[in-house]
């Protein structure tokens, strides 16, 4: 286990002990909730991971890097943003995945665009959002999020 994960574990356990000392009932509820959330997502997480394993075997990260390297940055970024919009990958799988891709030489800019639209823009959740907030709200929020995801990615490419 790397130092970083270790720190997160130690911090969380400390928080848990503190929480338990302060309010047993509340802590138990929190743990039940965490367990319930994890159990509910496990099947879909495992299938996504196995699908990723499959895709990365058929198209190795180096190939993806080579292919994207041949494209213009702007095009690759819009492509990354579009891909993030239509896919539903939990963020904690997306980070190690993007880590692999960046490690293999994929440029940071499309990767950031992908990460941002992945969580902020949702084609899959669009009908749900429309039902609750109406078409105008949903369309405006999602399109602004998409545009700004590309802006964030481009600015990040300049800074890093």
């Amino acid at each position: 286990m790397d130092v970083f994960t270790l720190v997160v574990w130690v911090g969380t356990i400390a928080f848990l002990v503190f929480s338990f000392a302060k309010d047993k009932m509340k802590t138990k509820q929190a743990l039940k909730m965490a367990f319930g959330m994890g159990k509910g997502m496990l099947a879909s997480i495992l299938s996504i991971i196995f699908a990723i394993g499959l895709i990365l075997t058929i198209i190795p990260p180096e190939e993806i890097a080579k292919f994207l390297g041949g494209q213009s940055v702007l095009l690759a970024t819009i492509g990354g943003a579009l891909l993030g919009t239509i896919t539903l990958v939990p963020a904690f799988i997306a980070f190690p995945l993007v880590g692999t891709l960046v490690g293999a030489g994929v440029s940071v800019i499309p990767s950031v665009a992908f990460l941002t639209t992945l969580t902020m823009v949702g084609v899959v959740t669009f009908p749900l959002e429309k039902k609750e907030f109406g078409a105008k709200f949903t369309a405006v929020r999602n399109s602004l999020s998409f545009l700004f995801a590309i802006v964030i990615a481009l600015v990040m490419g300049v800074i890093i």
Partner: protein, 242 residues
């Protein structure tokens, strides 16, 4: 539950399993390589996922969300913006779990801008997720993306509030007296069924109400079940007051 129903519910899993079987028949080396590739992510996930879920649940439980939400009205300018970021960053659950909560907040007077901030920060800047991002992409990467995202959300929520008016949101739907569960919001955490098993149960990973007519509702237990719901999907409408 019949096998067919189970397959239907986990259609994606079934497809992935089928592709793997086909792969092992056609090209065993590539099949083995795929399993090995997946193994890396499973290992990484198992190391970080339990803490992320626990941390998320603890934050959700300890930060006094109800108190914060009182300050989200239109008059609370900078403070409202700041608090909206806080609410979004510490809440548990996927983004669709935020929808019903934000609708409720809007009815209680929260501005369009603050709702958009909550939704967007709920999606991208969760505290436990930031730790995960720093682990795989480095603290510098995480910090820069975080700062840029906060700036971007601040700007585009302002633009959005100029375009969208309060009237653009669907009006309140009159609800029948009794208990209601917003099934779209429910994320299957099972807390309500554990808190008040006489009234709530789980069906297909979502909470449903059992027939409770004629049952003497224990209001304390009911209230604790409603309060415990992390996405505020349960509502109780006492009869005769609509």
């Amino acid at each position: 539950m019949t096998i067919l129903k189970k397959v239907k519910e986990n259609l994606f899993l079934a497809i992935v399993a089928l592709v793997y079987i086909a792969m092992f028949i056609i090209n065993p080396t590539m099949g083995a390589a795929s399993v090995k590739n997946s193994g890396y992510y499973i290992k990484e996930m198992l190391m970080i996922m339990p803490v992320i879920f626990i941390l998320t649940a603890l934050l959700d439980m300890w930060v006094p969300k109800e108190k914060i939400m009182r300050y989200l009205g239109k008059e609370a300018k900078a403070k409202g913006v700041f608090l909206s970021f806080v609410v979004g960053s510490i809440s548990a659950g996927p983004i669709y779990a935020a929808f019903p909560m934000c609708v409720m907040l809007h009815k209680k007077g929260a501005s369009i801008r603050n709702i958009i901030i909550i939704l967007s920060s709920w999606a991208v800047i969760k505290v436990p997720m930031l730790l995960n991002e720093a682990k795989f992409l480095g603290p510098k990467f995480m910090a820069i993306r975080w700062v840029l995202t906060v700036i971007a959300i601040t700007i585009f929520s302002w633009i959005a509030a100029k375009i969208i008016k309060d009237e653009d949101l669907p009006g309140e739907v009159l609800t029948q007296p009794g208990l209601h569960i917003n099934r779209d919001a429910c994320m299957g955490c099972t807390l309500c069924a554990k808190n008040y098993p006489e009234v709530f149960e789980m069906e297909n990973k979502k909470a449903v109400t059992k027939p409770y007519e004629g049952l003497d509702l224990d209001m304390d237990k009911l209230e604790s079940a409603i309060k415990s719901c992390p996405v505020k999907a349960i509502s109780y409408n006492e009869g005769g007051e609509i």
